[in-house]
């Protein structure tokens, strides 16, 4: 089986972009990636579009075709399908592209993730993001993504005697890193005090614990080793790819602060890569809500269960032994859902080639990317580099 390399990436700015449409965002990211890879559109063998909510948010489905059409390659007739797995759609789409190349069926695959979220006003967006939960048995009764995360957070804080500052610290770190990322939704730094005192959303979570509603798109070009060599590109290798599943609804799980899908995907990704935790130079975590940042560090095996607060309160900054979310994470880089997981790869690709500018992690050779659906129904883990 061939190795799979990322040979190009592109993304739009993440944020509230009132003047940009779904297709404009998607095409901008896609063209940037093609340009960055230095390939021609005729080189692309297959295209995977990802969007979590476009069907409900923008009343537009068939994101694969939309992307192919407005990137000007519809007449090439290449396959272009949409991958949807809620908030991990982007990472799941990259995984499909990885498998398509790894199998030998295609030499070059394009992935384009997009979400245009600010066309919906007021609290109606909660009805739409609520579709990532179990509609009949969570959302029906008043469940929202923030509320479900808050329910996990309260029990976590109680059982492990962890204060709120550990969660807030995840957001403080995200904002500090995003201040160095020109594509981030929020570029302001926040203090721990401000993070702890912000507007309540779902107690104990407040506004500073919750990722924003963002517009944005991100795209990648993946290639086989043979193709990458033929165009003189080293790129960044996708060392391993893993995905795992858990119950859809939080109430069906044995533990409400243990992400079984993350444990399984993480374990598989490390095994397939033949790497140890100490080999990892940085991680990008799916911290849609700050509590998940803590749970994920534990369930990925970077510390013991209930002990992430020690790691986080010590140091997770760019110069620490385990830099978390150098991109700014979901809280501050932003969370345009179908683009979020693809955006993590854009960051990984920049970091490992030493092109991440002000937020560059020193000697970044190996990155772990973690993406997740809803409250943890699906987790996708990739390890990049590993040289």
């Amino acid at each position: 089986m061939t190795e799979v390399h990322i040979i190009g990436s592109g993304e739009t700015k993440f944020g509230e972009m009132w003047d940009r449409s779904l297709r404009e965002l998607a095409v901008e990211a896609g063209l940037k990636a093609v340009e960055d890879a230095g390939i021609y559109s005729r080189d692309i063998g297959i295209l995977y579009g990802s969007s979590s909510l476009a069907g409900t948010l923008n009343l537009q489905n068939d994101i694969g075709s939309l992307l192919a059409d407005f990137s000007g390659i519809a007449s090439n007739g290449i396959p272009a399908v949409r991958i949807e797995s809620s908030s991990s759609s982007g990472a799941a789409a990259v995984r499909e592209a990885y498998l398509a190349i790894r199998s030998g069926e295609y030499d070059v695959a394009m992935v384009g993730g997009v979400e245009k979220m600010t066309d919906i006003y007021g609290s109606e967006i909660l009805d739409i993001v609520g579709t990532t939960l179990d509609r009949e048995w969570e959302t029906f009764f008043g469940g929202t993504p923030a509320a479900m995360a808050a329910i996990s957070a309260r029990k976590y804080m109680h059982d492990f005697k962890v204060g709120k500052e550990a969660m807030s610290m995840i957001s403080v770190n995200d904002h500090a890193n995003a201040s160095k990322n020109p594509n981030a939704h929020y570029r302001n730094k926040i203090t721990l005090e401000a993070a702890m005192k912000s507007t309540p959303v779902a107690d104990p979570l407040n506004l500073m614990d919750c990722s924003p509603i963002s517009d944005g798109a991100a795209a990648l070009i993946l290639a086989s080793e043979k193709f990458a060599r033929s165009v003189g590109k080293d790129g960044v290798r996708i060392k391993s790819s893993a995905i795992a599943q858990d119950y859809l609804a939080l109430h069906s799980r044995d533990s409400i602060y243990t992400l079984n899908s993350t444990i399984l995907a993480g374990k598989t990704a490390f095994e397939k890569a033949g790497l140890k935790h100490s080999d990892v130079s940085f991680v990008e975590l799916h911290d849609s809500y700050s509590i998940y940042g803590l749970m994920e560090l534990e369930d990925l095996g970077f510390c013991k269960k209930g002990k992430a607060s020690e790691l986080v309160m010590d140091d997770i900054g760019l110069t620490s032994s385990l830099p978390v979310n150098p991109s700014g994470g979901l809280k501050a880089k932003g969370n345009p859902m179908g683009a979020t997981g693809v955006g993590q790869f854009v960051e990984g690709y920049l970091q490992i080639r030493g092109k991440a500018g002000e937020r560059q992690v020193k000697n970044a050779s190996t990155g772990l990317l973690h993406s997740m659906s809803g409250t943890g129904s699906t987790s996708v883990v990739h390890i990049l580099g590993g040289a």
């Binding site: 609290s123 048995w137 029906f140 008043g142 808050a150 329910i151 029990k155 069906s252």
Partner: protein
Amino acid sequence: MGELSSVWRESSHRYRLVAHGCGNCKAVYFPPRDICPKCHRDSIGKMKEMELSGRGKIESFTVVHDVPPAFIRQRPYVLALIRLDEGPTLTAQVVDCDPSEVALGKRVRSVFRRVREDGKSGIIQYGYKFVLE
């Protein structure tokens, strides 16, 4: 969006807390399931309806301030995970109390209430909520 048939379809489970019990391993599932995740194919055709007592305790909870449109008149509300005495855990509101009275481990019982109100269609949907015992 056309909710009428879905409201009607789930109503016995939402109105009377009807669970499914696995005839193979005796595990009880609410929300009801047609397949037991422990017994898989050995449970096919052996899942039996059973009514729950509606009594249990609070596993965890939150006070929701940022609420979807169908819940605006209830803001803020307490949403909890409730572990029922028969075993399963469900997600429901805890009502008729001040949020400060709600705590982990407290005993609750189910009541039949208006759950949500769709502003556009005017449809009112009913189901279970819980009160402190």
